[in-house]
Amino acid sequence: MALNVVGQRVKRYDGLAHVAGETKFVDDVIVPGMLWTKVFRSPVSKGTIKNIDTSAAEKVAGVAAVITGKDVPNNRYGWGGDQYVLNDTAVRYKGEPIAAVAAVDEDTAAEAVSLIKVDIEEETPVFDPLEAMKPDAPLVRPEGNVFMYGDRPFRAIVLGDVEAGFKEADLIVEGDYLHPWLEHAQLEPQTSLAVPDASGRLTVYTVSQALYLHLQSLCSVLQMPMNKVHYIGGTVGGGFGSKNDMHADHIAAVLALKTGRPVKWRWTREEEMLYSTAKGSWHMHFKDGVKKDGRIIARHVRSIHDSGAYVSLNAYVVDKHSFLVAGPYFIPNVYVQGYAVFTNKPPASSMRGFGITPATFAGEVQMDRIAEAVGIDPWEIRFINAFREGEHTATRRVLDSVALIEVMQTLAKTAGVQLPDRLMAMSSTQRR
C-alpha cells in the first residue's frame, strides 16, 4: 500500500515553538506565591544518621517549611523501595538528600540549609566495584554489595558448552575493557513545580521522560490515588535517560503539601553533575575461541557494572547488557556473567544505550583483535560471523528481519570501500 504521510520529511511538530522560544519548560512556569527549595545533602559518602536538628533553619525569616524523612508519607521509592526520598537512617553516597527547605527565595532556602545540623557517624566507604565484591569489603547496602539474580550473584546467560568450544578452537583471543561513568549532559536540569489546590489535588509540572511511571511512583510516596495527582509535562528539555529516575518531584510535592503553597525546586548544574544519576562504569573481560577460518565458536564475557549506591534501574541495565553482549554474531557457545555491584557513589541508572553501549565498545574492538589474530580483514570477520535470518541469540531468541550483512554492504558503498565480490554477494537470508 502506498503511504502518503509516513516516510515524509515533515517538519518537527513543535520545532517552530522551540526555536522561537515559545515552548514552556518547567522552569518557565511561574506561579504567584511560589516558594523555592534547597536541599541538605549528605556531606559524607557513608555513615549512620544519629540526629537531625532543623530548629535553627526553621527560625530563618522567610522559611515556610523544613522537612526530613518523617514528613514524607512513604519515604521509600525506587526499585523495591530501596531509596529514600529523604534519608533518615544511613546514607550511602555523598550528596544524598537528608532535609529540604521551602522558602521565599533560593538564597533564603540556602541560608536555612546551612543552619541544618546533621550528626552522622561516618563509616568507611568503598568506591571500587572490584574491592566491593570482596567478602570483607564494607557493606554499601545491608543486602550485600552484589545484586542477586535468584541464587546467583550475576545474571547468567548459558548457550551450548563454552569450555568445549574453547577446546575445539584453533586460537583463544582475550581482552579487558573499561568503559567509564558518563553524565547525560542534557540541557534542562532536574526541575519540579508542585502546586496544591483547595480541592486537595496536587498539580506537578515535571521534567519526567516517563510520566506514568512517575505518576505511580509519586502517588506511592504521597500515599495518594492517581486522580489526586495531576502531572503536567510531556515536552522535555533533553533526557538521555536522566529523567527516568525521580529526582525532584517527590521533595517539591511533599513541601507543597506541607506548606499549602506552590513549591519549585530546580537543581543547579553543579548538583546535576555531582548527584544525579549517571551511566555507571563497566569492567569487561572477553575470552573468545576462534577457528582459523574466522568463525567465533565460543565466547565468555564477565562484566562488572559499578551501579553506585542503589539498585534503581541497574539490575535491568545489567540484564540488557548480558542478553546481547555476545554481539550481532552467531556464536554457538556463550557464557555471560553480568554483575551489578554497589559502591558509595551516587546511583547509576539508565542512560542512552543502557548496558549495550559498553558491550558494543568492547565487543567491536575485540572483533578487530580477533581479525588481527587470525589474519582476516576486519570487514570479512564480521561478514563471516554476522547473524543470519532464523538464527538465535545467546538467549535463544530466534531472529527475523536480520540485516547486518546488507547494512555493512550499504556502509561500504556509501564510504566508497570496494569489498571483495564474495562479500558483496552475501545475504542475511543465505544459510550459513
Binding site: 509516513v6 515533515v10 518537527r12 511538530y13 568506591f127 535468584g150 541464587d151 547468567a156 546467560i157 548459558v158 581482552g175 568503559h179 567509564p180 561513568w181 553524565e183 549532559a185 521522560q209 516517563a210 510520566l211 506514568y212 511511571l213 502531572y231 503536567i232 509535562g233 515536552t235 533533553g238 533526557g239 548544574r269 553543579e270 553533575m273 562504569s281 540484564d319 540488557k320 542478553f323 546481547l324 550481532p328 542512552r352 544505550g353 549495550i356 553501549t357 558494543t360 565498545f361 568492547a362 567491536e364 574492538v365 572483533m367 578487530d368 583483535r369 576486519p378 535463544r396 531468541r397 528481519s401 536480520v402 540485516a403 547486518l404 546488507e406 550499504t410 556502509l411 556509501t414 542475511s428
Partner: protein, 330 residues
C-alpha cells in the same frame, strides 16, 4: 608525525524494554470537522515523538499531518505510556496509535457506508476523503462524515489503541528469554588522524549506516543518527565523570571541566539509512534512538589501531593514553 587510519564497527540494538511488559496506550478522537486529537502519554524528549506519532495517525485516517493535534502534556487527559526510553516510543506507542486510528477510521467508515452505498470493508481513507475502493469519485470528505457521525448518527468517533509485548523473564539457570521486540542493525566507518607527538586524535570523517526498519520520518531519523554520533564522539574522546576512577577525586562540576562536543568538534558525517522492516512494528519501524551513540567508539578506536598499531581498551581515548600506548609499543 601525523598518521591516518580507517576502522569499522558493527552493532545491534533491541527495540523496547528488555523483558517486555512495557505498555503504551493511545486515543484518537475525531472532531466534528474531521480534524483529529491524538492523545498519548508518551513524552517527547526532543527526538520527535509527537511528529512521527502524528504522521502515523494522519496516515491511517487519510488526512494531512497538519490536521492532527498531539495532546501529551497532561495525565488527566492522556492514557498510560511506560515512557520515552529503551528506543521504544516509535515502535510501541506507534503500534498503539495505528490501532487507535484504525478503530476511529472504522467508525467513520460505518457512518459513510450508507451514503456511499458500499460495505464499510470496501472503503478507503486518503487525501481527506473516504471513498469506495477503485471508485475515487464515490467519495465523502472526512469533514462531512465526522459531522454526520455526531449531528445525524449520534456517534462519538474515538479509537482506542494498546500495545504491549508479553513479559518474558529469563530462565534463572540459562538466561533463556525473548527479551526484545525486534533488533536494529548498524555499521560505522571512521577515518582518523593521530598525532604521534601530541597523542591527539582528529576524526576526519564518520560514515554510518543504520537499519531503521522503516523511516517514519527520514529527516528525524537522520537527526537521531547525527545527534547520537556526536554524543558518541564525546564518549570516545572527551567524557569521564570520574577522571580518577574509582575515586571521586576531581569530579567535574560544570561543562567547564566536563567537556562535551561542540559544533567545532563535529567531523563530516555521512549517514545512510537502510530499511529492513520489522515484522511487528508500525509500518516495519524499529527503534534506533539509543544505538546511534554506541557505535562511534569502537570504529574510532579500530581506526586508531589502523593508524598507529596500538589497542586502546579504555575510553575516553585521551592524548595521554595514546602516548603511553605508543611508548609501551616502543
Amino acid at each position: 608525525m601525523k598518521k591516518r587510519g580507517v576502522g569499522i564497527a558493527a552493532a545491534l540494538y533491541p527495540t523496547g524494554m528488555s523483558g517486555g511488559g512495557d505498555s503504551s496506550q493511545a486515543i484518537v478522537k475525531v472532531k466534528t470537522d474531521g480534524t483529529v486529537d491524538l492523545i498519548i502519554g508518551s513524552c517527547d524528549i526532543g527526538q520527535g515523538a509527537k511528529t512521527v506519532l502524528a504522521q502515523m495517525a494522519a496516515e491511517e485516517l487519510g488526512i494531512g499531518y497538519d490536521q492532527v493535534t498531539v495532546v501529551n502534556q497532561d495525565t488527566d487527559a492522556t492514557p498510560m505510556c511506560f515512557g520515552t526510553f529503551a528506543s521504544r516510543v516509535t515502535f510501541v506507542a506507534g503500534n498503539a496509535v495505528v490501532q487507535a486510528a484504525r478503530e476511529a477510521r472504522s467508525i467513520l467508515f460505518e457512518v459513510a457506508a450508507e451514503d456511499l452505498e458500499a460495505s464499510p470493508d470496501d472503503l478507503v481513507a486518503a487525501d481527506g476523503k473516504i471513498f469506495v475502493r477503485g471508485a475515487p469519485d464515490r467519495a465523502k470528505t472526512i469533514a462531512e462524515v465526522a459531522g454526520k457521525a455526531n449531528f445525524a448518527m449520534r456517534k462519538l468517533v474515538v479509537g482506542r489503541g494498546h500495545y504491549m509485548r508479553n513479559p518474558s523473564s529469563p530462565d534463572p539457570q540459562t538466561g533463556q528469554t525473548d527479551p526484545f521486540a525486534t533488533l536494529a542493525w548498524a555499521a560505522v566507518l571512521a577515518e582518523v588522524e593521530v598525532d604521534t607527538d601530541t597523542g591527539e586524535v582528529e576524526i576526519l570523517k564518520l560514515v554510518t549506516c543504520y537499519d531503521v526498519g522503516r523511516a517514519i520520518n527520514p529527516l528525524l531519523a537522520e537527526g537521531q543518527i547525527e545527534g547520537g554520533t556526536v554524543m558518541g564522539i564525546g564518549a570516545t574522546l572527551m567524557e569521564n565523570l570520574y577522571p580518577f576512577y574509582p575515586t571521586q577525586a576531581w569530579q567535574p562540576e560544570s561543562y567547564h571541566d566536563y567537556v562535551i562536543p561542540t559544533a567545532a568538534d563535529v567531523p563530516e558525517i555521512v549517514s545512510a539509512i537502510y530499511e529492513c522492516p520489522s515484522t511487528n512494528g508500525p509500518y516495519g519501524a524499529k527503534g534506533i534512538g539509543e544505538m546511534t551513540a554506541n557505535v562511534p567508539a569502537p570504529a574510532i578506536i579500530n581506526a586508531i589501531h589502523d593508524a598507529i598499531g596500538v589497542w586502546i581498551t579504555e575510553v575516553p581515548v585521551t592524548p595521554e593514553k595514546i602516548l603511553k600506548a605508543l611508548e609501551a609499543k616502543g
